[in-house]
Amino acid sequence: MASGATIRGSLRTRLMLLLIGSSAILAIILFVLVRSFAVQIAQQSQDRILLASATSILEAATVRNGEVEIDIPYSAFAMLNTKNDDRVFYKIEQDGVFLSGYEGLISSSGETDSPMFKMEEFNGNVVRVVSESRRLSDDQTTQTLVASVAQTRDSLADTLQDISRTAGILGFGFFVLATALSLWSAAYAIRPLNRMANTVARRGPQDLRAVTQSVPKEMGPLVGALNRLMGRLGASLTQSEDFIAEAAHRVRTPLATVRSHAEATLQRVNKEENRSALRAMIRAIDESSRAAGQLLDHAMVTFRADQIATENVDLGDLCGEIVDRLRPLADMKDIEIALDVRGPAKINGDPILLQNAVRNLIDNALKYSPAESEITLALWTDDKVRLEVRDQGPGFPKDQIEQLPHRFTRGSNAKGTIGSGLGLTIAQDVVTAHKGEMVISNAAEGGGACVNFSFALQ
């Protein structure tokens, strides 16, 4: 299929890589988004609990006679229990003065009313600190209490790891699914292209009809160009065939006229001198018409052999037809043509070419055979499909057997017969085009030419 074209890259691979690449990017984005969203949620929930804890500590504070009293409720720390036993620190300040808890804990002793959240390093742990303030007043004084509660983040880290794993699995699953879909869509997108390539490739060499099947829009220009090319090719093939036929017509018609006149005159003329002149004339006409015919046949054969049209050919039927056709000619010399079909002989090939080749062999045999002799055309199949034409003529000159299938070579004993020297060349060309072999030889006893075709079994 790739004959002649330089192959670089593949549309299918390119499409697939693009699809897989973009799904990989999408999977990574998905992973990052899910994860950061989860981190945010987890942080928010920790903050809320820490704030609740700080608030409940502040709620428990009372002022009596200007003294602050705090009875830290149990629930303030119980609500911070986690399965990882995260440690909890706290610190209470009054107007910036340390009251209780861990003094080293940094609090955000801001004057703002809203709570403060911060990350911090404390005792070698990263902790989340929440500071909440409250103003307490009795009759005389107003104090600002700040409660800070901090918690290590072991449990949070665990949760985050869980979420990351899940997000990772999700992203990977998405990627695998997208890859499978990419393979399928690349194949699906490329299918009309393959389908068209197949229909065109399956066609016989003579089939130059336009491609009419429906194709996607993008393939329209390609198919259009292909159809135009086939149209031009078809036109030029028809032109060549017409030209060959027309050339034959132009050459042969006047020759036919001259020949018929010469023959008719010969019937009336008695003087030996004139008769032999007329005979020579007829001979020359036969010579040139045969040469013209063979040249045109040779052109046709060369032309068709380039693009051999294969169909299943039954050589038995084909030879039967040829023998029927040549029998009247053979009768004129009282030659018997025996068709000996010893078994089925079928090959794939071009019937017109094969017919031409076999006809040339029998033509030769008829020309060189003596009157009242026999020509045998045998067909059989052993390890190959074989066809053999044998006559009882003088045979091929022994020293020339090698050269005879060459163009315009005629045997040294061919003098006195009409011929162009192309018959065996045509036969050889046809056999070669069918990947077969032609062997010419002489029968062992009593001379007689023998030509053998062999073709591979189907």
Binding site: A256, T257, L266, R275, P328, K333, D334, N356, E372, T417
Partner: protein
């Protein structure tokens, strides 16, 4: 035998006609498809010789139309085109045979004879002279109710003698009819064939006489 020749080349047609009449056949000539249709609608010919390229149409069209009328007159196509491309289409259209121009008149006769033999059997062209009957289509010579099958060359030779009894045929003339122009034929070969005919004619009232220095003549009675 009555033939119809459909051929637009006047020269060639004249030559074919004169040769056919010489051989004792009646032949009509049409130069166009329409002319040919006129001829076949007025007479049932024994054989049609049909050229392919005609001024007012294609010989193949005529053939198709002729076959469509369910006539089975045998048709031999005269083609000057390359045999490779034409042969299939004309035989598919119902032609009985074809011959490529230029052709040997003897070959044309041989093909006519073969086609007629296939189509008609032996009824149409029987010649009677003296006590022999001869059917040149089937090649059967009948003497005293006895059938003798002639070989092709014997047949052609006898046919020639029978076409003009009492006429003298020189050896060269006989050789021209029996052998192709390319063969170098010795006069002995003619003597061999004349000898064979004589043998076949033994016991009949017909005989072939040798005229020394002139040739042969068929005598009867």
């Amino acid at each position: 035998m009555k033939y119809l020749l459909v051929e637009d080349n006047e020269d060639l047609a004249r030559a074919i006609c004169s040769r056919m009449s010489f051989d004792g056949h009646v032949i009509d000539h049409a130069a166009t498809v329409s002319g040919a249709i006129d001829f076949i609608s007025t007479y049932d010919y024994d054989l049609i010789l049909l050229d392919i390229m005609l001024p007012d149409g294609d010989g193949r069209e005529f053939l198709k139309e002729h076959r469509a009328r369910e006539k089975d007159t045998p048709v031999i196509i005269l083609t000057a085109r390359s045999e490779v491309s034409d042969r299939i289409s004309v035989l598919d259209l119902g032609a009985d045979d074809y011959i490529t121009k230029p052709f040997d008149h003897e070959e044309l006769q041989a093909r006519c004879r073969a086609v007629l033999r296939r189509k008609h059997g032996t009824t149409r062209n029987v010649k009677k002279i003296g006590d022999i009957t001869f059917d040149s289509v089937s090649g059967i010579l009948q003497i005293n109710g006895q059938d003798i099958m002639l070989r092709n060359r014997e047949l052609r030779l006898l046919e020639l003698f029978l076409s003009s009894p009492n006429q003298i045929f020189s050896k060269q003339k006989l050789a021209d009819r029996l052998f192709s122009y390319v063969e170098d034929v010795s006069e002995n070969a003619i003597e061999v064939y004349v000898g064979r005919i004589r043998k076949h004619l033994e016991g009949s009232s017909v005989r072939i006489t040798t005229l020394r220095g002139l040739g042969y003549r068929l005598d009867h009675g």
